[in-house]
Structures are given as structure tokens and as C-alpha cells.
């Protein structure tokens, strides 16, 4: 795993009254333990990875508490874990990145929501929306609505988040319904503090076993005819129970203000941004005291009609601040007001933007429009001045820069084993022309950026092969799907390989076998290298030894299967060419082997340090470019894109174009040289091997060589 959480594990053990300092998502983790959670599962992905990662690393402590932790292979298997809460009074929590993870989990969620739960069931989703998000933009809110699951959107401070985690379980139990907790990216990563409580031993746990399985009750099975009753229960029993709990426990927060004619209803998660917007306009102070009354909805579904009516009825106009589209909450409120015949004017997406993140700047815009129309007596000149300052700075800057700045999307790391595969694909395409490439989720999706710009579509995690099923039969040239080993186990084997085998598809599948789910923080897979093989591999790639993927494919009837070490660009090109052109029918699978460089570096750094310290001979490899022979065309960079292969001004002032240059971050993976060879690029690359702790023989050899060469060498 990419990160070690030793300090964080200690903070999970804090007792009553002690101060917890840390990230929002770890506050959730701590609050789960304070709520007496019995089991936790999930699938990693920013911004919620840390919840699961820290629990996996805290295995010993979890055992002590009796909490079962499972790192699931996908969100569907995580969601299905909630099945434990249907029949047993066990509290459970699962987590993943949303919207994508929620989509994968939906089948299980529908069924657990229909059956209803006995023990509290909480789903912590990282809402990947707006700046920093890495997936398609959609609202998880829609899933909560269609499955009648409740959704919390807490104010983004640790105390509120932790308090609501505990309420979420009670709400879930009071209404027999699973509950979502929706946390935005920044809320997951917000660093703050709260007063911790003691961890509670779960009612049912790996240490407190229930002697017998639950008695049979058909009402818990989401099968007809029980489903007809369950559908009515959701609206007639569970929702009223939820509303009662929300109202009685004050989950939503009313912040009074001196203005009486206007008010704002916001999602709890947007409260801090709203406050900053009001500060910028001059209508709030630093401590949350606002002139405008605010109703912060920590529970965004279901709404409590009495709360909404009470807030709106004495005001002439109310603004709903709700991020994302469509405007579910605003529509809900509009219906409530109309039914209660309350004539308060309702605004929301008419003055605020319909789609996109609600930053303070966006909210200021909306507020100014709203106040302009309904509260002309308010002095909002500070907001105007602030806008003018920001616009003036941006305009002046655009003028001074003269051109837009080049973007800097994420890319493959230095020495990444996946980069050489795309270099090989580029080389093969020069000969046989463009092929349809179905890309996938994972680090390899960075190949859709320059310098590779490869991939025609992305349809979800592990879906690449499945997504070529329709297009491949219509193309003259054989098409290719690329997926990682993470994607293979997440979904790719079943949706892609099994389906292809059933239908006799003739395609190429390239699997990046780097040993880990690297994009999410190098979590382990069923096919990750075992500790012993990693030990044996020393500084070589350690993924060779595990054969789980190969055996699975052979078991599914794949005949044409090749393993290629990714850094051998020429071999990879040859194998790709063969896969694209062979007469052999069926699926052609290329397994591109090369250990994740992040993991490899983490693994070998201590090994090398130990060897160096003990005086053992260690060879350090680095690549370089002779700037005298580099002509500054940068073909090598267009085939590599390695961060360590960069530019510098030529030492020769006659040359106007910068030359290629390998900087000190080079890990000596060898791709530069391989590409120079495979593409017959240029003779400027060299590999330098520095002999550290040289032996007597090394020293003698070096002396002889230096002497002989010295006789003939020009300056």
C-alpha cells in the first residue's frame, strides 16, 4: 500500500474526551468505531480510500474490538455485505467513490433497501464532483431517491461529521433503511479536530458470536409478494419514522439571522462555502453569525415538511443552494410549499448555475442576484468590489501572459511499467495503421493524454473488453481492449472475458499486470505478488511469480496467451503485431508484466540502503542524453512522456531549440534506451552504471581502462 497509517491508527484508539486531530474521512472511521460498528467493507478510490486503508492496516486493533474488515474486489460485493444487517442487529458500514462505485453497487443496494435493515447500515460515499474529481459527473442523490435510502450531507467540520455518523446508524435502525453519508472531496480531506468518544464494542462481532442463524422470515426476502409490501413500507412506515427521528434529534440546523424577509436553505456540505460567500458580501462574520437566516440540511433526503414550512412561511423569498443537477431538493421544496399553499417566492437554479461545483465565487454570484431582487435594502457593495478586484486581476494577468498556460494533467510516474506498452502501441500503429482501442479505468487511462493520445472510449472500470463487443465486428482491423489487473478483477473478467468467450469474439485484450490497484494507492489484489516472491525478486519486477490471472484465463478457454515484460519495447511491438494479424481465432490476450514502479521503489529502497550500508557492491543505473548529439526534435519524448525525460536549453548557443535531458529523478527503468532502439531514433541516449562500493576487481579494471583510454583520448 502506498501510505503507512501508523499515526492514524493510534488516533483511532483515542478515548472519551480526548482530542482527535486529522482528516475528515478518518473522523468518519473513528466515529464508526464509536458507533459500535460490527463490519466494514468497501472498494478504494479517492476521496474515501483512507477509510478502508487505515482499517486494513489496523487489522490487529480491529480484531481486538471484534470488527470484521473486508477489502472487497468491487463495490457490488461491498454493498452486498450490508445483507448482514437485514437479519441481524449488526451495524455495518461500507464505502466507495461515487457516482461510479454507487452504480456498480446499485443491484445490491436496491435489494437491501427493499428488504429493509434491522442493524444500522451506513454507506459512506465520496462524492467525486467538481474540481479534483476524476470520474463522470453525476449526483448520488438520484440513487438515494430511487431506492428510498436516506442521504446525509453533513456540514464539513469534523465534529458535525462524527456526530452524524452516530446518528446515521440510529436513523437507519429507527426507519429500517440504509443511509448514505455523502462527503465531497474536500470534506474527506479536510484537516481539523473534534472531541473523541470511547469506542464501543459491537453488539454482534467476531468476538461475540451469535449461536444460531436468524429464523426464517420471508418478509426479509426482496421477492414477490414481499416486495409489494416492502415498496409500500418505504413510503408509509419507514419515511415517516425517518422524518420523526430527524426532527426529534435536530439533525438539520437552523441558524437564525436578523433579516426576516429572506432566508437560505443549503445542503449541509455547502454551509462553509455559503458562509464565505456571505462574508465576502459583508453579511456574515467569521464565526458563522449571518444576517440572513440559514437552514442547513444535514439530511437532504428525506426533507421534513414541517421544518421547511416553518422556515419559509414568514419570508417573502427563499434561496435554495444545492450543488449539481437536476435540482432535486429545490423541486422537493417547491412541491412542499405548493401543497401547503405557502406563497414564499422560491429561487435556486434560476439565479445559481445549474451544473458544476458551487465555489464561494459561484455562490456570491447567485446571492447578489437573489438579494438584488428581494432584499434591495441590503448593502452588498462589498461583493461588487470583491468581484471587480478578482476580474481585474484575471484580466490583467491574461494580458500579461499573452497566451493560455499549458495544462498539466496527471501522468504515468517516472519509470512506470505501463508507459512502454503505449510506446510500443504507437510504434506498431505506424506500420499497421490506427486500431480501435477500448480504454479502461486505471493509471493506464493516462494514455488518453499526450504524448500517447490513445483510446477511443472509456465505459467504466473493467468494461474495456465488453465495450468493444459491439464495435469490433464492424471494423476491418482487429480491435484492442486494455485493462489493468485491478480492472480485470473488479469486473473485467466477468463482463469482458466470459462474455467474449460465450460469443466467440475475435479481439485483442491487453492486461497491465503491475500487481496492484495502483491508481487508488497500490492496494492489494488477489494476484498481488506474495511477500516471499517480492523478497526473491530484489530489485527486479516481482509480479512474474503469480499466475492467478493466467490460470483464470486458461480456465475460461483462452488459447492465445502471451506474457511480455513491458520494458522490452521491441518484444512488445512484435507480440502486438502478431496479436493484431494472426489468423488464430478467439481472444488474444497479452499480459504486460512489470511491477508498479511506486511499489517497487518503496520495496527496494530499504534493500539497497541495507546493501550499501553493509559495503556490498551495488550498481546504480541512470540514463542520460548527450546534449551535443541531441538535435532537439523530441521524438523520444513523444514516444515516452516520462517526467524524468525533460528539456533544457542547449549548452550550444547556436541551437535554438531545447535539447532532451534526463533529470535526477530517473530510476533507470531503461525505456529511453529501448525506445531509441525500437524506433531507431538517435544515438544520443546512454546508460550509465555507477559502481557503488566497487570491488578490488572493479577498481583494477577501471584503472586499466582509464589508463589505456587516456593514451588515445582527445579532450
Amino acid at each position: 500500500m502506498e501510505r503507512q497509517f501508523n499515526a492514524e491508527i493510534e488516533s483511532l484508539k483515542l478515548g472519551e474526551g480526548e482530542m482527535f486531530h486529522g482528516e475528515g474521512i478518518l473522523a468518519v472511521t473513528k466515529a464508526l468505531l464509536q458507533s459500535g460498528v460490527s463490519y466494514v467493507g468497501g472498494y478504494q478510490g479517492a476521496p474515501v480510500s483512507h477509510l478502508l486503508d487505515v482499517m486494513v492496516q489496523a487489522r490487529d486493533y480491529m480484531d481486538e474490538l471484534g470488527v470484521h474488515v473486508e477489502a472487497c474486489t468491487n463495490e457490488a460485493s461491498a454493498a452486498a455485505m450490508l445483507g448482514a444487517s437485514i437479519n441481524y442487529p449488526a451495524r455495518g458500514a461500507v464505502t466507495w467513490k461515487s457516482i461510479v462505485g454507487t452504480n456498480v453497487a446499485s443491484d445490491a443496494l436496491t435489494h437491501v433497501a427493499s428488504a429493509g435493515v434491522l442493524g444500522g447500515a451506513l454507506i459512506v460515499v465520496g462524492e467525486d464532483y467538481g474540481e479534483g474529481a476524476s470520474v463522470a459527473q453525476e449526483r448520488t442523490h438520484a440513487i438515494a431517491l430511487k431506492s428510498s435510502m436516506w442521504m446525509l450531507d453533513p456540514r464539513p467540520n469534523l465534529a458535525t461529521i462524527a456526530r452524524l455518523v452516530q446518528h446515521a446508524f440510529e436513523l437507519s435502525e429507527a426507519s429500517n433503511t440504509p443511509v448514505f453519508m455523502d462527503l465531497r472531496i474536500r470534506a474527506c480531506h479536510v484537516h481539523g479536530s473534534f472531541v473523541a468518544g470511547a469506542n464501543r464494542a459491537p453488539a454482534l462481532s467476531t468476538r461475540k458470536l451469535q449461536a444460531e442463524a436468524a429464523t426464517f422470515d420471508y418478509e426479509h426476502i426482496p421477492h414477490p409478494p414481499a416486495t409489494y409490501r416492502q415498496e409500500k413500507l418505504k413510503m408509509n412506515v419507514r419515511m415517516p419514522a425517518a422524518r420523526k427521528y430527524i426532527r426529534e434529534h435536530g439533525l438539520n440546523e437552523l441558524f437564525a439571522g436578523s433579516e426576516t424577509s429572506v432566508g437560505i436553505i443549503c445542503q449541509g456540505g455547502l454551509y462553509n462555502n455559503l458562509l464565505r460567500a456571505l462574508q465576502l458580501i459583508g453579511l456574515a462574520d467569521d464565526f458563522g453569525v449571518s444576517r440572513i437566516p440559514i437552514l442547513a440540511l444535514n439530511v437532504v433526503y428525506p426533507l421534513v415538511p414541517e421544518e421547511i414550512s416553518a422556515f419559509c412561511s414568514d419570508k417573502t423569498a427563499v434561496l435554495v443552494v444545492e450543488e449539481g443537477q437536476p435540482e432535486f431538493i429545490e423541486q422537493d421544496i417547491a412541491t412542499l410549499l405548493r401543497r401547503a399553499d405557502i406563497q414564499t417566492r422560491l429561487h435556486g437554479k434560476d439565479v445559481l448555475i445549474m451544473a458544476g461545483e458551487y465555489t464561494a465565487e459561484v455562490i456570491v454570484h447567485g446571492l447578489m442576484g437573489f438579494f438584488g431582487a428581494h432584499a434591495a435594502h441590503l448593502d452588498i457593495s462589498a461583493g461588487t468590489r470583491w468581484h471587480e478586484t478578482a476580474d481585474a486581476a484575471r484580466a490583467r494577468e491574461a494580458e500579461l501572459l499573452g497566451a493560455p498556460l499549458p495544462p498539466r494533467p496527471p501522468n504515468f510516474c517516472v519509470g512506470c511499467p505501463e508507459r512502454p506498452v503505449f510506446a510500443a502501441i504507437k510504434l506498431v500503429e505506424r506500420d499497421i495503421g490506427k486500431r480501435h482501442i477500448s480504454a479502461d479505468i486505471g493509471c493506464h487511462s493516462f494514455a488518453t493524454f499526450a504524448p500517447f493520445s490513445l483510446g477511443n472510449s472509456i465505459l467504466g472500470y473493467g468494461m474495456s473488453l465488453a465495450s468493444s463487443a459491439g464495435v469490433a465486428p464492424m471494423l476491418a482491423g482487429r480491435s484492442m481492449a486494455i485493462m489493468g489487473d485491478g480492472g480485470f478483477w473488479h469486473n473485467g473478467f466477468l463482463s469482458g472475458v466470459a462474455s467474449n468467450q460465450l460469443n466467440g469474439g475475435d479481439k485483442v485484450l491487453l492486461i497491465m499486470k503491475n500487481g496492484f490497484t495502483s491508481a487508488t494507492g497500490t492496494q492489494e489484489l488477489v494476484s498481488s505478488p506474495q511477500d516471499e516472491s517480492a523478497e526473491l525478486a530484489q530489485d527486479k519486477s516481482s509480479v512474474r511469480s503469480d499466475r492467478t490471472i493466467e490460470n483464470t484465463l486458461r480456465g475460461a478457454g483462452v488459447k492465445w496467451l502471451r506474457n511480455v515484460y513491458t520494458y522490452r519495447v521491441a518484444d512488445m511491438s512484435k507480440t502486438l503485431r502478431e496479436a493484431f494479424t494472426t489468423e488464430e481465432p478467439g481472444l488474444k490476450v497479452i499480459i504486460a508484466e512489470g511491477e508498479c514502479q511506486l511499489e517497487r521503489q518503496r520495496r527496494i529502497r530499504p534493500v539497497l540502503a541495507r546493501l550499501l550500508g553493509s559495503g556490498a557492491r551495488v550498481l546504480r543505473t541512470r540514463f542520460g542524453v548527450d546534449d551535443e548529439t541531441c538535435s532537439g526534435d523530441h521524438s523520444c519524448i513523444r514516444l515516452s512522456g516520462c517526467p524524468s525525460l525533460t528539456l533544457k536549453a542547449s549548452a550550444d548557443t547556436l541551437k535554438v531549440d531545447p535539447v532532451a535531458h534526463v533529470n535526477h529523478s530517473c530510476v533507470g527503468c531503461g525505456l529511453c534506451g529501448e525506445v531509441a532502439h525500437a524506433a531507431i531514433l538517435c544515438p544520443s541516449f546512454y546508460r550509465a552504471e555507477v559502481v557503488q562500493n566497487p570491488s578490488a576487481w572493479d577498481r583494477l579494471l577501471a584503472r586499466v581502462r582509464t589508463t589505456v583510454i587516456g593514451w588515445l583520448q582527445p579532450a
Binding site: H21, A46, P47, S134, R186, H191, G192, S193, N272, N273, Q279, L280, G282, D286, T359, A360, T389, A390, A393, R394, L400, L405, P406, P410, N411, F412, F446, A450, A476, N503, A570, P585, G586, G624, E628, T629, G632, D633, S635, G641, L645, T646, A651, D652, L654, V656, D657, C672, A676, H677, C682, P683, Y686, R687, A688, E689, V690, D698, L712, P714
Partner: protein, 525 residues
């Protein structure tokens, strides 16, 4: 309701893997230890994989104990024109912060490292795609309330620390936060790992913010700055015949060419340049003598084209061995093996042979489709005696170069280029033709593509009659040159030529492979 004080807002722009998160943690730790309410957020995600990312911190400048139980509400996202301290770990990222309005004259202290880490988009350009850093510096100075612009990367590297340490030092030294130096240093110490190096980096950053930055190291002297004595007479000729503005360029050219071949070859360089200089005088030279200067530049580079002899010579010199040792940071006493990646083939061999033989070899190879198939991938250890001798033997072929096919080919094309410059009706057009010399570079495929682009421009715009008027022709050539440097597939060039009414080249033939339809019928359930 004017606020009595407001949170100090700090935005950090960094690249994944630079320790931006650790920097945020240090600030949090120091502020917490001093009793100030503080909050940070970030959006790391996949940006951890070398992409641009930001960390945002708010620090309330009154101790929690002085607030009588009130807690400030701090926000999670930066707003434009609302940033007190903007830290950028790289110059382009500072530019991005400026672009987003995070640096405003009323309040922002900008602390930015002036070094560049080029984006892929900048690196893959066929020529020079680097964004002009001077523009960012100018904008930074114009828009920040105070700008601390220092190469923090170098400061840190000198101490073995990461850039986050020197940036933290500068933040502490800038006096923008109510955090004493000792508290900041304690935060580093408490974080443990690598604390000593980080503290050294911190100290340099702190001094830099106080304006006590160490003077930048002087530019190193490259070998071509040293004039060999034998070229002395030629240097005198340069001073006698050429305007002073271009002396330096021509002298560099001379040095390069006598190094490449011999003094006669260097003299040929001057013979070729003299008519151009004369022409420029007749056209009424501009103050900078650009035509002569740029022709001199590209003529020197072209005449010293890289063939096997040249590459072998450059790779086996003592200065090069020393440069590699320095480049890979080898310690004294550590032997360094240098392994070259060479892949010579028919083309390289044919280039060395006399024209007649060369033609026969090439036509033999082409007939059999072997032109690019006989390349031998060599891993030559030039630090071994045999590897070194192989390179020296090739370098010693230098006297034979004048009889080689490649020599004849290059000289013919050079003459064609020079004639076109000389024949241009005005100085503007002549300069545009001269600048086409920039297109000629690279090896193998790259060189072939470069020459094809060069010839395409020559055939259509320079010598062909696609555009009549000299001014319009100069414009068209400039556009075509930019087009040729836009992409390696030649799309940009053809697009600019099409704008001048030139019919596009037919697309290159690609081998089509016909494949059997898979016979296997789908299984039925």
C-alpha cells in the same frame, strides 16, 4: 457587519509527489502548537501522479483561548481575490494561480519557485514549445502585493531536502503568518523522517524570504567557448568582413566546423556566408543583421550534420566522459560504465560510402525491402577499451568524410538553400528562407521527415510559384514553417500549404491486412 479580523488564507499549488501534503501538515502542526484555529483541505486524487494539484489552508489569527469559546467557520475552497499567501512550487503553477485570480495586489504575498518543470505539451513540440517564463515573472511582479521569486528547488536540492522545506522556510520568513520560526522548525522535527535535511532547506528558504538569497552560481563555460588557436586567421577574417553584431555567432560556427572537419571546411563556411552578408548590406541591413546572423547559425549546424563519424567522435572525448560522471552524480572512486544505444543499419553504412557505391547499396536494399530491416541494435560500452577503440576508429574516418555520399547530398541541399536566400528579392523573404534551416535536424526517420518538410516548402513556396508577391510569400513560408513544427505527421504543414492553394500530398500507403472472419459460431444457450 465588518469582521474585526479574518482568517489568513494560504493556497499551495504543487505537483503530485512534491510533498505539498507534508507542507500543509507542517503548517497545521505549527499553528496548532501555537494555539491558532487552523484548517486545511486538498484535492489530491490521481493528481498525485505528477499532475497539478492544490492544498488550501485557513489560519485564524487569534488564539483559540482569546475567542471565548467561539469557533471561526473556515471554508474549504479558495476564492479568487481572497488569498493572503500564494505558494507555488513551480513557475507555471504560479502562472496558473495568477490566471485563476488568486493573486491580487491588495493582499497577496506570492512565494513561488522560479524553476520550471515542463508539461508534456511543452516537451513534445518539434521545436521549442516552452512557455515563456519571463511573462509569468512579469505578471507575478505586477499582480502580487509582494513577490518572493526564488529557485526554491535549487535551494532545497543543495541541502538534500525536498522543495517543500525551502518553501516552508520562505513562508515562515515572509512574516505573513503569526508563527515564530521556532514553532515551524519544531513542526518539522516532530514530523520525524528526514528532519535534518528539511531543516537545512527551511533555513535557506527563510533567508531567501528575508532577501538574503545566495547569489546564483555563474554560468558554466561550455567547451565551444574556448577558441582553438589554429582558427585564429579565420577569426581575423570574420572581424574584417562581417558586422560586429554577428561576430559571436560566426565565431561559434567556425569553431564548430573546424572541430567537425578541418580548417578548410571552416573557410568554406565563411565563403558561403560572405555573399549573404553582402546581400544584406545591399538590401539595407537592419540594425541586428538578422539575415546574416540566422543564416550563419543554421548553416553552421547544417554543415556539422551528425553522421556516424561525428557521433563516435563526440561520444569518445574526455570532456564527455567527465560530463557523464557529473550528470549521474558519481562520487570520486566510483567507476562509471557508459553504455551507448546505437542501432546502425544500411542507411548509416550507405552514408559513409562514396556516392556510386552508396547508390548501389541503397537500391539493393530497397529492392529487397531491407532498408530498415538490417539495423543492428548495439549496446556499446564506450568506457571499455574495445568499445572506446571502436568509437575512435570510426572517428578517425573523418578525412574520408568529404568523399562520402551523405556529404555530397548535404552540400547539394545546402547550396540550394543558400541560392534561394541569395535570389530572394527582399531581405524579409530572404530571412524567412534562411530560417527554414531550423527544420533540418535529427537522425534516421526524423531527419528524413525534416528534409521532406523542408523540400515540400521549397518546392511549393520558395522555388515553386504557389505565391507570387514577395511579402505574401514570406508570410506563407513563416506559416508553413510553424505548420511543419506543429506535428510529426505533416498535417500542420499540409494545412498551411492548402491555405495557399497547394494541392495536398496523397496519403501515404499503409499495408492492409485481410483477415479471416472468425469461423466459430456463437454458442447457443
Amino acid at each position: 457587519m465588518a469582521a474585526t479580523s479574518r482568517p489568513i488564507t494560504i493556497l499551495i499549488a504543487a505537483l503530485g509527489g512534491e510533498g505539498g501534503g507534508v507542507l500543509a501538515d507542517w503548517i497545521i502542526a505549527a499553528a496548532t502548537a501555537e494555539g491558532y484555529p487552523v484548517q486545511s483541505t486538498s484535492i489530491p486524487g490521481v493528481a498525485q501522479r505528477t499532475g497539478a494539484t492544490t492544498y488550501y489552508i485557513e489560519l485564524y489569527p487569534a488564539r483559540a483561548t482569546e475567542l471565548h469559546g467561539r469557533r471561526p467557520v473556515m471554508t474549504l475552497a479558495p476564492a479568487p481575490a481572497d488569498i493572503d499567501v500564494m505558494l507555488a512550487s513551480e513557475l507555471l503553477e504560479a502562472g496558473r494561480a495568477l490566471q485563476n485570480g488568486y493573486v491580487t495586489p491588495d493582499r497577496t504575498t506570492l512565494i513561488a519557485s522560479t524553476h520550471r518543470i515542463y508539461t508534456v505539451e511543452e516537451k513534445i513540440a518539434l521545436g521549442d514549445g516552452r512557455f515563456d517564463g519571463e511573462r509569468i515573472l512579469a505578471a507575478a511582479r505586477a499582480l502580487a502585493r509582494r513577490a518572493i521569486l526564488v529557485d526554491f528547488h535549487r535551494l532545497a536540492a543543495n541541502t538534500g531536502a525536498m522543495i517543500n522545506a525551502s518553501l516552508f522556510g520562505a513562508l515562515a520568513g515572509s512574516g505573513t503568518l503569526p508563527l515564530p520560526r521556532a514553532a515551524c522548525e519544531q513542526a518539522i522535527r516532530s514530523a520525524g523522517k528526514g528532519a535534518e535535511a528539511s531543516l537545512r532547506g527551511f533555513a535557506l528558504g527563510y533567508a531567501a524570504a528575508e532577501g538574503k538569497a545566495p547569489a546564483p552560481a555563474g554560468a558554466s563555460v561550455s567547451p565551444s567557448d574556448v577558441t582553438p588557436a589554429h582558427a585564429h586567421t579565420l577569426m581575423q577574417r570574420v572581424r574584417a568582413t562581417f558586422p560586429a553584431e554577428v561576430h559571436e555567432t560566426i565565431e561559434r560556427g567556425l569553431t564548430r566546423l573546424s572541430d567537425f572537419q578541418d580548417e578548410d571546411y571552416a573557410a568554406l563556411y565563411l565563403d558561403r556566408l560572405e555573399p549573404i552578408a553582402r546581400l544584406e548590406r545591399e538590401h539595407g541591413a537592419a540594425a541586428k543583421h538578422e539575415l546574416t546572423g540566422e543564416t550563419a547559425r543554421f548553416l553552421a549546424l547544417w554543415m556539422s550534420y551528425e553522421d556516424v563519424i561525428r557521433v563516435a567522435d563526440l561520444k569518445s572525448r574526455r570532456s564527455r566522459f567527465e560530463r557523464v560522471r557529473a550528470e549521474v552524480q558519481a562520487k570520486p572512486g566510483e567507476p562509471v560504465h557508459i553504455i551507448e544505444y546505437l542501432k546502425p543499419g544500411v542507411e548509416e553504412a550507405a552514408a559513409l560510402l562514396p556516392p556510386g557505391l552508396s547508390r548501389r547499396l541503397v537500391s539493393w536494399a530497397q529492392k529487397r525491402g531491407l532498408m530498415h530491416k538490417l539495423n543492428v541494435g548495439l549496446h556499446l560500452n564506450s568506457s571499455s577499451v574495445t568499445g572506446f577503440l571502436t568509437l575512435r576508429l570510426l572517428a578517425w574516418l573523418r578525412p574520408l568524410r568529404r568523399r562520402s555520399a551523405r556529404y555530397a547530398e548535404e552540400q547539394a541541399l545546402i547550396e540550394r538553400w543558400l541560392c534561394a536566400i541569395a535570389a530572394a528579392p527582399d531581405a524579409g523573404l530572404a530571412l524567412e528562407i534562411a530560417l527554414c534551416g531550423r527544420l533540418i535536424k535529427g537522425y534516421g526517420d526524423t531527419n528524413r521527415r525534416a528534409k521532406a518538410n523542408f523540400l515540400r516548402i521549397f518546392d511549393t513556396l520558395v522555388e515553386g510559384g504557389a505565391v507570387g508577391d514577395a511579402g505574401a510569400r514570406a508570410q506563407a513560408i513563416r506559416a508553413a514553417r510553424a505548420g511543419a513544427l506543429a506535428d510529426p505527421e505533416g498535417r500542420g504543414l499540409e494545412a498551411t500549404l492548402a491555405a495557399q492553394g497547394v494541392a495536398p500530398l496523397p496519403p501515404q500507403a499503409k499495408i492492409i491486412q485481410f483477415m479471416r472472419r472468425p469461423a466459430a459460431a456463437p454458442k447457443t444457450a
